[in-house]
Symmetry: C2
Subunit: 195 residues, 2 copies
Amino acid sequence: MTYEGEYLYDPRLLNNLDWDSVRGWLNPHITCTEPGESWLLVRPLQLSDYSKGFLEILTQLTAVGNVSYADFERQYRNMHKSGGYYVTVIEDTRTNTIIGAASLISEFKFIHGCGLRARLEDVVVNNTYRGKQLGKLIVVTVTLLARRLGCYKMTLDCKDHLIPFYKAIGYKLEPGNANSMTIRFDETPKIATPS
Amino acid sequence: MTYEGEYLYDPRLLNNLDWDSVRGWLNPHITCTEPGESWLLVRPLQLSDYSKGFLEILTQLTAVGNVSYADFERQYRNMHKSGGYYVTVIEDTRTNTIIGAASLISEFKFIHGCGLRARLEDVVVNNTYRGKQLGKLIVVTVTLLARRLGCYKMTLDCKDHLIPFYKAIGYKLEPGNANSMTIRFDETPKIATPS
């Protein structure tokens, strides 16, 4: 069986992650293969998630805009071809709905012995599933995946109110080195050219 | 002419960037094609930069380790194949030495209308060339390149003492949303398995 065309990345990468190393972070202890409810499924993104509410859940994070199926498929294939995109979702299989997502993006480096660095991006969980630790579950899943891939570190940008959440699962604000700065091009005022 | 095999990315992308939009950031006004000295050359990374001191200059940033030419070439080709890696260097053509570098890495997103996001990574300039604005020059070059590529934003992680430098060229600490958190896997104590 090949996973290509079925999943954005090989779903077997989610088997046998080192959940013992994070014992205590989730209470009760759940994992991506034993997520606490029989109707919860943690897996790589699929093309069919377009119609399962994947983009709708991302709107809880930021603007998504009008994305047609063709747009979605093109970007999915861009990610698949490029490699290094581990977009991971939680599905409620009772309703075939995506209720959570997080992305691990890996980056080739020359530093650290031509190492691999990881980033955590676009974490979101449907609010109506609160109390099931699904936010922690999806973030720890992709964090353990990054370690399995051999990344030397994983970083994330976050808002002030989310710092305690990430601290509880091992992320740190490194003293003197915890700043994320941004330049936005879409906010650049466009000056109309006189015709 | 094809750039493949010659450069990590198409060097023509550095022509005609919108330097007018950043007038005042560099004083005197220099650009990547008019860098102020006839012996300065701003261009994409090449494989031959292995023997021009590219890795040596990165050691001013962080640990690089022992990287053979084969390691370097493998990672260069990984980046070229993946796409989205715009590693840019400044060469002193009098000595055929790399004296500065900065990387733009682009990332496919589903948010922002299946947009493209940019990151600034691994910025370094040889200290002995101080006073020539080469730090600003290389960072503004890849920032303008990100805008040309259609990215909606560019971000960077930086140490406290570098905040004023980046503020002077348009980067901001967004209120309530300027935190970079890190988990390091290479610091995880390795427990020897009894044999």
